[in-house]
Symmetry: D2
Subunit: 340 residues, 4 copies
């Protein structure tokens, strides 16, 4: 933390702040510039708590230096985290494609899609059982019944299963069935849920909140890790901007930014990120080229009749094409990245 | 719902869509323009569900016509909703000022501030017991202990008490103590919490999500109302934009927009909306001038030592000034609005 | 400027940077914290130019301390700037209302509106002669012919006249006719135009760019002032956000933020800021309550037939009501602000 | 255009609007739904001009159907536009890499970088001669002197040269030297400049405005085309969002969106789009994978001493690596896109 004093700050004000900080057990370094005096705070910043130093007389502003999270950083753990999901590795040089319907609508539909994505080469099956919907009048999901259907689909296909949890009680139920739980964008700052997921011992896909900065997103991961669960997969899924041509603006640059800051694997959701079926394939390829470890994508046997998110769902045939293209690209990237 | 066909759509494609809609029990009106053919859908749109008509061959795009919410609208209930909180009316021509510390830190601090805001003229006491914090290493609130302290402060001052709930279990506890519960910005789309608050019979302050459109915010209120709880106070608290001079951008225009769309009372939170103490008074006045029914504001006996949100908290003296100014303005607005 | 070194930075890297800065004629203060070493740079930062210190080995990031503008600040000039426009004072405790049609369409329409706004109490007449329009197929303005019509309207009503300039050549023509020139939102960073306006000796209304931070906006004012023209009126007119219920989000909090940073007068444009006629009056009142020195507002004798921006234009009768309300509020604010 | 009437609109109001439109020479189709009546307008919408139909009694809102631009669409010209720049084809299946310093600082520096990027395989040389800078105290470019240096670099390397124009007068000068002119983000809605570039007969790189929607950007291209210049290259360079980890948010999804709407070639600027050197290579690859026709990238022989935009400039060695990787990826994409 650095304190910038106002140009008209008095020596007495500077002394007061220094003494205040020293009483807290911190040390200070004072630099007098042409216009501004800067006070650098040295020591364990937890001693400072949330003290609003900007309210002290003579202070212009305070500037944080250290990042507020720790466990998620590469400084803390330089080597990439690789997460084992029933034998499939997420991160560390393996492509991960997670596919399935937005919502588990019934057994037949789910199993049909599970078989299709398995045959096309997907590594995990996704499907929503608890659906957070903007309108109270939309389909809200089959809940535990949906989780049972996913478990049946796993039995048939061997694919690990992923589904979203939306509350502590849905988490408790979900842990009985799932291989990976997902925290959706709307719950990225549902801190109680983050804590409870942190106490579970299950891999977590943590989606970026629709208006979350990368720093807030890493803080959300820190919540989970601070409770002891280190198996987190970061998932970029689009941020809210002024642009209306796409449902959200998929922030592909978040992939290399995260790769520079954290050891956690990073995947991308091009379905929610764009909201448009025609954009799913090009944006999946862009994600891989930017260095993502994989994608999570919505697939429906009959998008026209999907109970939710039809416009952004791929058909089984579309998905087979995506799978071929993304595999070809992932393989080509080894050659591309080998250039120097 | 209106369907816009692509310029090159064939008559067969248009017929297919018409027949599809008629099978669902809907009627259609077809308008052929110079370039585009438009299909208007007539009938109960619930028959349509979430069918992604934009995926049908020949469709350029679909445009929703009706709003997705109903109970919150002035069409449904033209007269303003007035909410009675222990005798104080919120909405309908009464000024409401809710004040208190960001967090309940201890009994002494809370009661001291409760007395101060009561003496200055506040109508309700606010204080956080369950604190959703961005970093897991920040103070997280006293929880039930905090609610008990608020109840004591009510006993001493007679002020009704307001606090935030962050999960179904905190709601259950809160209902034992509070007069009004608050849904924070981060939980505006925590739909399970909205439903449970909807089943309670207690007034609710529903804060706008940091990146929520006014339409999504009204949908969140609709969730609560659709469960039977009609006592909702909408609270604008700033949206996330590119501007960094303020913590958020307080969207004062949301006040008249809401007033044109909904019968619910509207208040403004200038503390979170700006993040800066010096902006709290001018933005409180702006809110009232724009037609807000009141404000909710953070007050601390010693902002320098507040455990959270110190930079945006008013001191007791600041609050007394605010209360005088806002009362003077509220009274003057009757004369101002009487001009025509 | 403060340089934050990476946690793993070596002493040699720190020395290299110190020496580099000393060679430029700057001095340094080094603070070693628990995790980070911070290098404070002392001296005239112009010696640094745009040197990208963040590229030097071992640097984590750099943090600017001083603001990049100077002439616009209250540090440079503490007393408020008051601008005299043909005897009417802008700023310094006088209400300024500038009104008129979006576009000068013809003589009759302009003079009719000029007389109406004069009679209602407006202080200046606005009207667009050079119209920057999103589509090349929209009405583009009467250009010099429009300026002549405004000058005639001034002769008849005595109102000073304001119009937008969009290029150096339009500025040259405009200087022959206008009392105040306006730089529109789209040209806020048209630096050549800013320079040429800076060389003129005429009051300037500088509108905020639709996505400009307050810092960038102040920098644009600095451009004008650095060429010698000190008569600048800052005009908030809405920023682009994700919200679509309004054309833009009128950032009322920019008013008190500017008032804390600059000596320049601040007005608000509630017409472009909201894009909706029904919001113009409440947002005008909010602007005044927040401390604005005035407003600029679109008025048309027949908004239904306006050649541009009809939806946000007030009729003559609407404007007369606005004028009464805003005057009543402005007068009441003296009493409101007198409370302490 | 579709008009949605309010639920309480009367038959008389509907008739009035119909008659009004018929007098203008338009035809109408009226659809009465359960709640809303919709009036579809049929005929040449230019007859309507900017009439604010939303102001007519009984109207809830109006919804545009047709896009406001025409010449840029694939409906108007289905085959991709390929632009010939001294024999190098932009668009239509050829990779285009444009590289060079942010600013032309002097002859030696420019020629050294020109030779380096030529040797690495670049197709054109870029360099800024007229620099629009946020602060009036930053380096503003060598102007015509800079253009002469670029022309010398062309003579030596054979590379076509690209530079930004910022005003009609700079355009006039630039036409004497350049092969391609660039309209920068800040001038995307400088409509007078767009018109003058439209009257010239030179290829244009049109950068997206920092807060421009894709629709506004296409409208800006329409301005140029409506004056007769059809040689436009669209360049995505990042939009302004709330995220601060990157300078802007590079909207890679704009590439496939544009490819679906327009016949014009699309390139991406990963330097300005991210503001960080480390992100330039991954985002260049993402752009190509998403279907871009090329990139424009900043290269400096000594980024530490660049007079502008050093932090985002690649060194000569970095650029050579980028060139190898991007070529490898571009070649691989043929195989990737061949999968189905």
């Amino acid at each position: 933390m650095v304190i910038v004093m106002r140009p008209d700050a008095t020596q007495e004000q500077i002394n007061n702040i220094s003494e205040y900080l020293k009483k807290l057990g911190l040390d200070v370094h004072i630099s007098k510039g042409a216009e501004y005096t800067i006070i650098g705070i040295i020591g364990d910043k937890r001693l400072l708590g949330d003290t609003p130093l900007e309210l002290m007389p003579g202070v212009e502003k305070t500037i944080p230096i250290a990042e507020p999270y720790k466990l998620v950083t590469k400084t803390f753990k330089p080597e990439p985290t690789v997460i084992d999901v029933r034998g499939h590795k997420v991160g560390g040089g393996t492509l991960t494609v997670i596919a399935g319907p937005c919502a588990v609508e019934n057994k037949e539909q789910t199993i049909e899609t599970a078989i299709a994505v398995k045959n096309a080469g997907a590594h995990m099956l996704r499907g929503g059982a608890y659906k957070p919907r903007t309108s109270p009048y939309s389909f809200q999901g089959l809940e535990e019944e949906g989780l049972k259907i996913l478990a049946e689909a796993r039995e048939i296909t061997g694919l690990p299963i992923v589904s979203e949890v939306i509350s502590p009680s849905s988490l408790e139920t979900a842990l009985k069935y799932l291989d990976v739980v997902q925290i959706g964008a709307r719950n990225m700052q549902n801190f109680q849920l983050l804590r409870e997921v942190g106490q579970a011992r299950i891999p977590v896909i943590l989606k970026r909140g629709i208006s979350a900065t990368i720093e807030e997103w890493l803080n959300a991961a820190e919540y989970i890790m601070s409770e002891g669960n280190y198996q987190i997969i970061m998932c970029e899924r689009g941020i809210r901007t002024f642009e209306t041509a796409t449902r959200n603006t998929l922030d592909i640059s978040a992939v290399p930014v995260l790769k520079s800051k954290t050891h956690l694997p990073v995947i991308v959701d091009p379905s929610h990120g764009t909201g448009k079926r025609d954009l799913v394939i090009p944006m999946s390829l862009a994600a891989i080229a930017a260095g993502a470890d994989g994608i999570i994508v919505e697939v429906h046997r009959d998008p026209m009749h999907a109970l939710s998110d039809g416009p952004q769902s791929l058909s089984h045939d579309d998905f087979a094409v995506l799978m071929k293209k993304i595999t070809a690209l992932y393989n080509a990237m080894e050659h591309v990245n080998g250039q120097y």
